[in-house]
Amino acid sequence: MDRRFWHLVVQFALKDFKIRYTHSVLGYAWSVLHPLVFSIVYYFVCKTFLHFDAANFPGYLLLGMMLWAFFSEGSGNGIGSLLARSSVISKVPLQREAIVYAAILNALITLAINLVILGVLLTLAGERVIGWSLATLPVTLLELILLTTGIALLLAPLHVRYHDVGYLWSVLLQIGFWMTPIIYVDKTIPARLQWMIVYNPMTRIITQGREAIVYQTFSDPKAMLHTFLIAGTVMLFGSWVFRRMQPRLVEYL
């Protein structure tokens, strides 16, 4: 993992980011406009029609949506990334993790833009955003990145062999979205179904994120450590599988 490797990751991610908005008049403005409009629509739907509510509901909802969007986009694009760059993989020997990492980095750029938009919106709404609790945010984000990258590394080579993996994952993402308290509040879930929220690492990550940004409280360090161990294990396992499968990758393309 030398500088050359990270240079390659950045170049791949930059390319994807740049070509996403080619042929559009507004260009990069879309990367801000899109989440902004999206957030506002979701806020009004949930608040006005569904009557979901929580303390500081806009912050609660939007942060959950944004962290989930990163997880969904990063894992989905990461899984498909090897096939999308099949010509590069079959013609140049490079560290193929770079391609998956680039997909994650690209999703991270989107998340960063989204978080800035969220900060501006909350400040405009009169909420306090800057505080000491933000210090735990990097740890939470690292956990999110490790979890997402681990899943992408695990499933990307499998997806090259069996295209079903990609479809299966998009179904699981749909189920996961509703099994995670993103647009609803976890207290509203009946006790016998609480387990599926508690054992869901995305619930832990989103909750920690909300504590850091929206509620300005410090998360329980023990809970954070647990989350970190889960995410780290997924990452290690994903890397191991990726390394095992990658020598034969070209033959499966």
Binding site: R3, V10, L14, I19, T22, H23, K91, P93, L94, D164
Partner: protein
């Protein structure tokens, strides 16, 4: 230590029979059925070394394993057997302009392609500029690639590749790029790389380029190393073999192509023709040395006096067909008679199939009686009128079965001084 060392490398691809079991469901169902795969030996027992600073060429027909070998050296494929040692940094240029996107500018594309080829991060920016200069595309550095001509894109690709600055370059058919002047520039760069003791492996169908640049050439056929050595000799051997193959192919096509060939002025035509055995059954396969009868029926449209009836036998082999016997009634001193329009005639020609085992075809013709001054006037000529095969000849080689007989009689001992063979 040589930069590239290949020892006993073999690679077999498993090609599943259709339908490919790519989907999980098929795969699960397939667990209960034996997997039907075809094994394709792409490479068998390949060994060679490339010394430092040498320019190796790899030639061979399509599908001979050249690209597979290059991919194994590049580390893209893992060999099933054998070892590959590569010492030094590697720039595999199996395809130019990988990752190029028409929506990005020339500079952005070069930056990405450079990263793919492993430009060191700290000099990447300078190299991108060097590429733009070499490709002579500086005025278009910030133009999106979609406005570029194919030639411009290729130039950008090879210019980036040549900046890769690796110890070993693997090239797959990437020499012919751009106009003549730009090609010359690239070739000068190759010369310069050679001077810098870089090792280059080139896979190419351009035998001229191979002879011009390479110090050493490998010739692959069917995944095996046919021969390796000095470029001129290997290329010559390869060309000779290719020419032989082409001849064989043409010969194999010939009998079929001639089957429909029939010509003549139609004053008389064959309306029937068959080959029979002695007992009157049709002869498609006959025993060597047996008697057969060719029966022809002809019909006259105009009055003909003493027409010439002839036939011949051709041997049909892998190297084409050749005539081994022809005869006509005049040569045998047989009169054919005179015919008026509408009249039919049956011609019976018994002959001995004194032939080697093999395939034969019969052609037949009717010609006007020649006055000796003009060339022959053919009323009808049919090639491949009937085909037959000959079997049961004891001979192994030759054209005809001359029905030889052997008698071995013991020789009575004679006095010693009469021996014909002097002692050496």
């Amino acid at each position: 230590m040589d930069p590239i060392e290949v020892r006993g490398v073999a690679k077999t691809f498993r090609i599943p029979h259709a339908p490919p079991r790519r989907r999980l469901v098929d795969q699960l169902a397939g667990l209960f059925r034996p997997m039907s795969v075809e094994l394709f030996a792409a490479l068998t027992e390949i060994s060679f070394q490339v010394p430092s600073g040498s320019f190796l060429g790899i030639i061979g027909a399509n599908g001979s394993g050249k690209s597979t070998l290059l991919k194994i050296i590049a580390g893209l494929l893992t060999p099933d057997a054998g070892e590959v040692h590569v010492r030094g940094t590697l720039a595999p240029l199996l395809e130019l302009g990988l990752g190029f996107h028409t929506g990005l500018t020339a500079r952005e594309n070069v930056a990405l392609y450079g990263a793919i080829l492993g430009f060191p991060a700290h000099t990447a920016a300078e190299r991108v500029e060097a590429v733009l200069d070499f490709a002579e595309l500086r005025p278009f550095a910030d133009t999106k690639l979609k406005g570029f001509s194919t030639g411009m894109v290729s130039r950008l690709g090879i210019a980036t590749a040549l900046q890769a600055d690796a110890d070993i370059l693997l090239l797959d058919e990437v020499l012919a790029v751009g106009d003549v002047r730009f090609q010359q520039k690239c070739l000068r760069t190759f010369e310069a790389l050679k001077q810098q003791r870089k090792t280059i492996v080139l896979v190419s169908h351009d035998l001229g380029a191979v002879q011009r640049f390479c110090d050493h050439v490998l010739w692959l056929a069917g995944g095996r190393l046919v021969t390796a050595g000095e470029p001129r000799a290997v290329v010559q051997a390869y060309l000779d073999a290719a020419r032989r193959d082409a001849l064989n192919e043409a010969a194999a096509r010939r009998p079929g192509a001639q089957a429909t060939r029939r010509f003549g002025d139609e004053c008389a035509r064959f309306v029937g023709g068959m080959l029979e055995r002695d007992d009157g059954t049709p002869a498609t396969s006959v025993r060597a040395g047996s008697r057969v009868v060719l029966r022809l029926t002809a019909e006259f449209r105009t009055a003909c006096a003493e027409p010439v009836f002839g036939f011949g036998v051709k041997q049909v082999g892998a190297l084409g067909s050749h005539v081994i016997y022809t005869i006509n009634n005049h040569q045998l001193g047989v009169s054919s008679g005179s015919f008026s329009p509408g009249e039919q005639v049956e011609i019976r020609i018994p002959f001995t199939a004194a032939l080697m085992n093999g395939h034969y075809s019969v052609f037949a013709m009717i010609a006007a009686h020649s006055n000796g001054h003009d060339g022959p006037i053919f009323h009808d000529w049919i090639n491949d009128l009937v085909a037959f095969s000959v079997e049961d000849s004891p001979c192994w080689e030759g054209l005809a079965d001359l029905a030889a007989e052997f008698r071995c009689d013991p020789v009575r001992p004679r006095p010693a001084q009469e021996r014909a063979i002097p002692a050496a």
